[in-house]
Amino acid sequence: MTLSSDRPASFVRFSTAERWVHRTLGILILILIATAALLFIPDLGGLVGNRQTVRMIHEIAGFVLLIPLLLALLSRAFRDDAGRLNRFRPTDWQWLRSRDRRSGRIPVGKFNAGQKLNAAFSLGAILVLFLTGTMMFFSSYFPDALRTGATFVHDWLSLAFIVVVVGHIYMAFNDATARLGMRTGSVPESWARREHGEWATEELGSPVVD
């Protein structure tokens, strides 16, 4: 495959199903963070009040979160990408340790090691927050010590998760092409060659040198 003229200018990075999963999860997580802030920061919560309503929105969004996550498993493309995110190769650790990780010296596949860590931490955080949140919702079935324990884990992990989500948004904010990939599903070849060289080679063959 060296016929550069046959190649489309851009090619598929994310399937429609993946993008919808990302979009719905993102919206739900933003709702959860906003309602959490209202429930948690006295001066903010005071502006809106209606604690019962805010709490109900938080609970509903938390339970609904499971739907896109489970539906995602039906998507072949999602499962493939989840597999790629899961697996670390020695080059991933090198990439993380290196100072020139953006230079392209160390080959990067469809996802770089930072994206893999973000995905794993986010999934772990969502699951733990979901489980502890469920314990808080059904708190009358648990003894005090476990209720307090669940609240403790939920509070602190949500703080850590918010930091990671903000980081995720910040990284996206700095890369318009990456955002384009998530919005439209496709990315230009030049971007893929630069940021995810190994994946580009896998999909399109070796770069053509004119």
Binding site: P42, V48, Q52, R87, G124, L127, V128, T148, A150, T151
Partner: protein, 243 residues
């Protein structure tokens, strides 16, 4: 995780190691440990924060600060000049007490913990104001008055006590907290502080005390919380009592 290994066996697994799965499982494991030990961890964090940087308690989760619950939008507004606390129902003299009137009644200070039914507790909060029984004595409770119905000027929040509970020397019509006038978010200008009971009994933005025959369950009680809300002996909880 997997070392780069020696040259002879340098056959990296083609798909790499499942680090993502390990992270997720590790977090689930840590989460479970956290749930099991969180009560002690949370006490530890509270103590450390209280002794090193008390200001953090207002920002960090579960570090000894108050959490603010309101049942309506925002904090209800009032004018200190026109604020009145109505005392009526089965009383000899109906009262309408201004902040000045309240300040003229005998003042009592109480420093005790504030325990919320959702689990958080703020230790040693200094409160002051007028004992509820001093207010009731000023109005003169009629023999048929066996219960108290409290209303808030937020228009929604209500609370209840039996006359016996209300006459105890540890129920305060509080006007000050931490040595300063009560803040809006804590129920300014006047709120209840019912020492031995969970926080929801300590109604905020107090504007009415009605002496009635029977207990009328309050806002939270209608939502399922216990009417007799003694700390550690109600709502299925076993916190240390506040005495």
């Amino acid at each position: 995780m997997v070392p780069m290994s020696d040259p002879d066996t340098d056959v990296e697994p083609p798909r790499g190691t499942p680090v993502g799965r390990r992270i997720v499982l590790g977090m689930l494991g840590l989460g479970a440990v956290g749930v099991a030990t969180g009560r002690w961890l949370s006490d530890g964090v509270t103590e450390v924060v209280a002794s090193t940087a008390p200001g953090l308690a207002n920002v960090l989760p579960a570090t000894g600060g108050f959490r603010i619950y309101t049942v309506t939008s925002g904090y209800p507004e009032y004018d200190p000049a026109t604020y009145r606390l109505a005392v009526n129902g089965l009383v000899r003299d109906e009262l309408s007490l201004s902040l000045t009137d309240l300040a003229a009644l005998p003042q009592t200070g109480i420093t005790k913990d504030f325990q919320c039914v959702t689990g958080w507790r703020v230790a040693n909060v200094p409160w002051s104001g007028v004992l509820l029984r001093d207010v009731l004595d000023a109005a003169g409770v009629e023999p048929a008055g066996a219960a108290l119905h409290f209303t808030s000027f937020d228009g929604v929040y209500t609370e209840s006590l039996t006359m016996e509970q209300g006459m105890a020397p540890d129920v305060l019509v509080a006007t000050s907290m931490f040595g300063a006038p009560i803040q809006e978010k804590h129920g300014a200008p006047v709120r209840l502080y019912v020492v031995p009971m969970y926080g929801y009994k300590s109604l905020k933005w107090l504007s009415g005390i009605e002496v009635v025959r029977d207990v009328i369950p309050g806002y939270w009680e209608q939502l399922g919380y216990d009417v007799d809300a003694y700390v550690g002996a109600s709502n299925g909880r076993s916190d240390d009592p506040v005495v």
